[in-house]
């Protein structure tokens, strides 16, 4: 078993940080599992895209960001929001569509927003968030603020014109944009090699003169280390950076997906590289963590999620009278 473990042994990682990374990934995994359950119970409706298998990417990258950096994410963004520090209560209430949700229930699973943590939403148009991140970075650069804008997108977005326009524009204007490609090998159901002439996505950056790196997205420390390098480069005014995180989603694209486009064997093969169980094994092998520590993490996460579900259940529906609110700002200059 140990020979399959590809996680680079993080000798330099503090025990507490190792446990923290594990816990964050467990939080995401259990949240997503709870979501699937609540979806089948019809508590959560609409589209639901789960992040199982890709947790190391969100945890590795987001932990490397500063609190005043901005995040623009996709419709598969529960994990990013959670790791960013958004309240799991507000996330769960949003998934329920309740007004205590982080977007007052108006967004749902695909549109988690939070001004406090500068979380500029799950964007449900593939590639649609990239120009936003470019603009946020432009504002920072024009105001000489030392912040960066981190934009998550999938391998599917690389096929969009907006990806290329934004890579060019960010590079042209040397904007502090951190492009994080979560390459899970499928754009919905279309395999990477059926959609891209060059499947080595990090190479796309070269044409724009953008620094890039590809990293094992199933290894949280590898992702974190790469993200730290990228962020350092961006903050050093080198302009944007493209980090391609090679990962895999264990569950279907969304809840109604029969997964005709890939084999069970392929999924099982990738599950051997599960970022959570592999990290737990490594930490155990190195004596950093015991079974009781693991149980304690699971216990804490379960309590947190139970509380969030109870909160969402007890939350309220926005009154119908509010239907047309938030189309235009309620305060306009006279």
């Amino acid at each position: 078993m140990s020979d399959r473990v590809t996680i680079q042994t993080p000798m330099e990682v503090e025990r507490s940080h190792g446990i923290e990374c594990l816990k964050q990934m467990v939080r995401i995994r259990r949240l997503e599992e709870r979501c699937a359950e609540l979806y089948t119970a019809t508590k959560i409706r609409g589209f639901l895209h789960l992040y199982n298998g890709e947790e190391a990417v969100a945890v590795g990258v987001v932990q490397a960001l500063s609190p005043d950096d901005a995040i623009v994410a996709t419709y598969r963004e529960h994990g990013h929001a959670l790791v960013r520090g958004m309240s799991v209560r507000a996330i769960m209430a949003e998934l329920y569509g309740k007004q205590e949700g982080c977007s007052r229930g108006r967004g749902g699973s695909m549109h988690l927003f939070d001004a406090k943590t500068r979380f500029y939403g799950g964007n449900a148009i593939v590639g649609g968030g990239l120009p936003i991140a470019v603009g946020l970075a432009l504002a920072d650069k024009m105001r000489a603020r030392p912040r960066i804008s981190c934009c998550f997108f999938g391998d599917g977005a690389v096929a969009e014109g907006e990806f290329h326009e934004c890579m060019n524009l960010a590079a042209l204007w040397r904007l502090p944009v951190f492009f994080v490609c979560e390459n899970n090998l499928y754009a919905m159901g279309t395999r990477l090699d059926l959609a891209q002439s060059t499947t080595d996505l990090s190479k796309k950056a070269a044409a724009y003169g953008i620094a890039a790196e590809a990293v094992d997205g199933m290894d949280v420390f590898a992702v974190e280390a790469a993200a730290q390098r990228a962020i350092a480069a961006i903050r050093g005014a080198a302009g944007p950076f493209l980090l391609e995180c090679r990962t895999y989603r264990f569950r279907a694209h969304s809840m109604y997906d029969p997964e005709l486009y890939r084999t069970k064997a392929e999924v099982e093969e990738w599950k051997k590289r599960d970022p959570i169980s592999n990290l737990a094994s490594v930490l155990k092998q190195q004596g950093m963590i015991s079974d009781s520590d693991l149980n304690a993490i699971e216990g804490e996460v379960a309590v947190e999620l139970d509380d969030a579900v109870a909160y969402a259940e007890a939350s309220t529906w926005e009154p119908l009278a509010d239907l047309e609110r938030f189309v235009y700002s309620e305060r306009r200059p006279a």
Binding site: F113, I125, I132, A133, C166, N168, R325, F326, Y328
Partner: protein, 331 residues
């Protein structure tokens, strides 16, 4: 008189407004294709690069989606961007950003993220530039909740709409008719901001209300002159703001004249003229003495030859004829 006013063009008026906004607020910047070194496709921003520098008069690549989206991001990041799109036809390349992001962020975020963005673009035909540079799609944009649609027709509005648009917390799209840029006129020296909420009666009249906006306003006013000689007094309303529509002004007018004609360079089917007509019939049906009529662009991609292009847009004579067909001879 000459002491209080000066002569300038519609283009000059817009440039003055941009200059003033940039002088007053360092968060304001102009971004778009060829706005800097070229001086603007329609020379609106000519000279501004020298005055404000390339950081604030920002030439962009031909990437409408990216730079419009960047405008949204910059607005979210605290700036007050003015994004110029060369023509309305090109804006379709940025439609995703306008529709899916600018118009929805406030709502999707439950009120957390407003987008104080101004997008300017040229619209309209009449210059023999054929089927990909001539259309009037502002009516389409007026379909979208979450954005405000302005159509300045006069020097005063060209000069005065930008400042309140920049102060507006939400996205504002300003449609400048390309045929107006050279229009000369007098403007008071102290011309300042105007409201961006209300339609305006540009000419009072008793017998029929002609509702229009943009460059068509001038054809409507000319038609009204001609009608006056035939004993028909037409009231002319300039909508100015296509979204949200100012129902009160047009309903008040139709309540007096009992007849309404909408003159719109845009296509008829599903256009802003359809919306205006529907509202009048919904809210003023029992004030009507004749069916609401529309004079619209012929439903054809704009042709290149002048005679065909002229025939494809409403003209003074067609407005006059339409009014005459609505108003009793004895009036």
């Amino acid at each position: 008189m000459s002491a209080a006013t000066r002569q300038l063009t519609y283009r000059d008026a817009i440039r003055e407004a941009i200059r003033e906004a940039m002088q007053k607020d360092d968060r304001v910047f102009l971004m778009g294709e060829d706005v800097g070194r070229y001086g603007g496709c329609f020379a609106v921003s000519k000279g501004l690069l020298e005055e404000f520098g390339p950081d604030r008069i920002r030439d962009t690549p031909m990437s409408e989606s990216a730079f419009v989206g960047a405008g949204i991001g910059a607005a979210l990041g605290g700036m007050r961007p003015i994004v110029e799109i060369m023509t309305v036809n090109f804006s379709l390349l940025a439609l995703d950003q306008i529709m899916n992001n600018a118009a929805t962020f406030l709502h999707m975020s439950g009120g957390q993220f407003n987008v104080p963005l101004v997008i300017r673009m040229a619209t309209g035909g009449g210059r023999q530039v054929a089927a990909q540079h001539s259309h009037s799609l502002e009516g389409w944009y007026a379909h979208i909740p979450g954005i405000r649609i302005l159509a300045p027709a006069t020097l005063e509005d060209a000069r005065g709409m930008l400042a309140p648009a920049l102060e507006d917390p939400d996205p504002v799209l300003i449609f400048e008719h390309a045929g107006l840029y050279n229009m000369k006129g007098q403007l008071p020296n102290d011309a300042g901001p105007v409201d961006i909420d209300r339609a305006r009666v540009r000419r009072p009249g008793r017998d029929v209300t002609i509702i229009t906006y943009g460059a068509m306003l001038w054809k409507a006013l000319e038609a009204a002159e001609s009608l006056e000689k035939r004993g028909i007094e037409a009231e002319v309303i300039d909508l100015r703001t296509l979204r949200p529509l100012d129902d009160a002004t047009m309903l008040e007018s139709v309540g007096r004249t009992h007849r309404a004609l909408i003159a719109d360079e845009g296509w008829r089917s599903g256009g802003i003229s359809a919306e205006v007509s529907a509202r009048i019939q919904e809210k003023a049906f029992y004030d009507l003495d004749a069916p609401v009529q529309r004079i619209c662009g012929v439903e054809v991609p704009t042709p290149y030859p002048k005679h065909l292009e002229d025939a494809s847009f409403p003209q003074v004579e067609t407005i006059v004829a339409a009014v005459e067909a609505m108003v009793p001879a004895h009036v």
